[in-house]
Symmetry: C2
Subunit: 316 residues, 2 copies
Amino acid sequence: MNILVTGGAGFIGSHLIDRLIELGHTIVCLDDLSLGKEANIAHHVLNPQFKFYQMDVLQKNQLETVFKTSVFDVVFHMVANSDIQKGSVDLEIDLNRTFLTTFTILQMMKQYQVKQFVFASSSAIYGEHSCQLTENLGPLFPISYYGAAKLASEAYIAAFQANYGIQSWIFRFPNVIGERTTHGVIFDFIKKLTNNNQELEILGNGKQQKPYLYVKDLVDGILFGWQQSKEVLNYFNLGVDSVTSVTKIAELVVQEMGLHHVQFCYTGGDRGWVGDVPFFDYDLSKINQLGWKAKRSSDDAVRLAIRAELDYRKHL
Amino acid sequence: MNILVTGGAGFIGSHLIDRLIELGHTIVCLDDLSLGKEANIAHHVLNPQFKFYQMDVLQKNQLETVFKTSVFDVVFHMVANSDIQKGSVDLEIDLNRTFLTTFTILQMMKQYQVKQFVFASSSAIYGEHSCQLTENLGPLFPISYYGAAKLASEAYIAAFQANYGIQSWIFRFPNVIGERTTHGVIFDFIKKLTNNNQELEILGNGKQQKPYLYVKDLVDGILFGWQQSKEVLNYFNLGVDSVTSVTKIAELVVQEMGLHHVQFCYTGGDRGWVGDVPFFDYDLSKINQLGWKAKRSSDDAVRLAIRAELDYRKHL
């Protein structure tokens, strides 16, 4: 297949491209390299089945050239502001990078009659609920701008599906970690402990528990859902059925860094920052019933991600 | 109270202003007059408690002048593209007029610390469901761009509420009719029958049934909910517990115009146009339990709207 991957030099996008190329597909990768890195796709540049354009997809003229040049079977839209905290300071970031890029890509797909759309959504669309997060849960009141921009994107995907028949797959991710990540709690802890290996400040009370999904499992789940589910509008929670607390992450980082006697200092409260969800119970039965489960547990994913980050830092 | 009404010269906004002025509030009305009309607010211009600025709220500099000049207790955000069919042809209309105006107003409220926000949402956010439409229904996959833009707005309202404590009221309207409407099925039928009083083309099979809420009842419901419900984020379906079919509307129009022997020609199919929802069962128990019910039935609302439109045309 001829596949467009937007945000393809980013954390998740680049892992997706690795798998799609292994599977024999032809890839056009777009990325403005604001969060993505050339290093993430450097191993493909000599492959004639792979093309990279450095491009902001909101630049419609440039984007249109790509759609004019290639006939795509499917678009995997991975562009987004992945930094929730940054988005809570500058509200235009999620609006532009996460929502308006989706709208623009869908418009282009309509114009050039591309038939399939795969979208990276988020568990953040659900907001705070005391019940289990199933795909059909309502009401949907996200508490972060990140979640709001993802929900706004889903709303438009549904409308484009209904009006132009663009078959769509929406995958709602929890926290995803692994090689090539650019931010997040593991990243922060390693940075802090590199500067000071005696003491570690932990936002909140450390008891926030979340499922951490290993990025290669995530990519596996996306491709599985895309191939196996054939509704006109497909939507799935993707995740892992175990969780890791913030304190546990801190302990694993300390362990993997070979440190001893590190004192944990908690800032207190039940969440790390405004928009952070202290706990959630993520229902995976829909994707499980289709036949998919993550291979690594949340703790394993955290450990793999720590090792990858430490390894990366060794080669800097 | 000092109240900002955006879209205040429009169909619903102007009725809202009529009531708010009756109740003794001070009003600043913004409208770009693209759908709104000066005639709708002409009876207030000499009132020192009322100020009108012709303005596109997406023009941030102009908008900021208004927030700098007045300290508002609450914003009623009524700006929207109300023409669903037009929005399905030019996709930027709902994006700009419905969604981005909401985002821009919320940003300004955050900056100037306005504490209360009242939003005109829509039953269109629910998309197609075979079950009753309750406020907590999911998933939310709107089938029109209009519904998508309203859902995108709700998503951001929730995030602004969570991050900046802006207390919000979301009212989801069904079809609203009455004096000063600018489009819709009644409007279309009267226009067609004025041109040809022998024959009336009806889109679909005429069996689509919807609750039509009289605009003055709607305004009554909005103000009731705003005054009686005091959560940080309040959300209600507003409507009427009866429905009117398209054929019934045609019959009422024919009757009120004093016509005879009009032949109805149906274009066929179960919906009038792409994005139209053929039938819905709208749950009103939440607002009913708070103590509010519409005074007029759907058929009465249709008849009142027909008379208002015929009366308006007499004075052209």
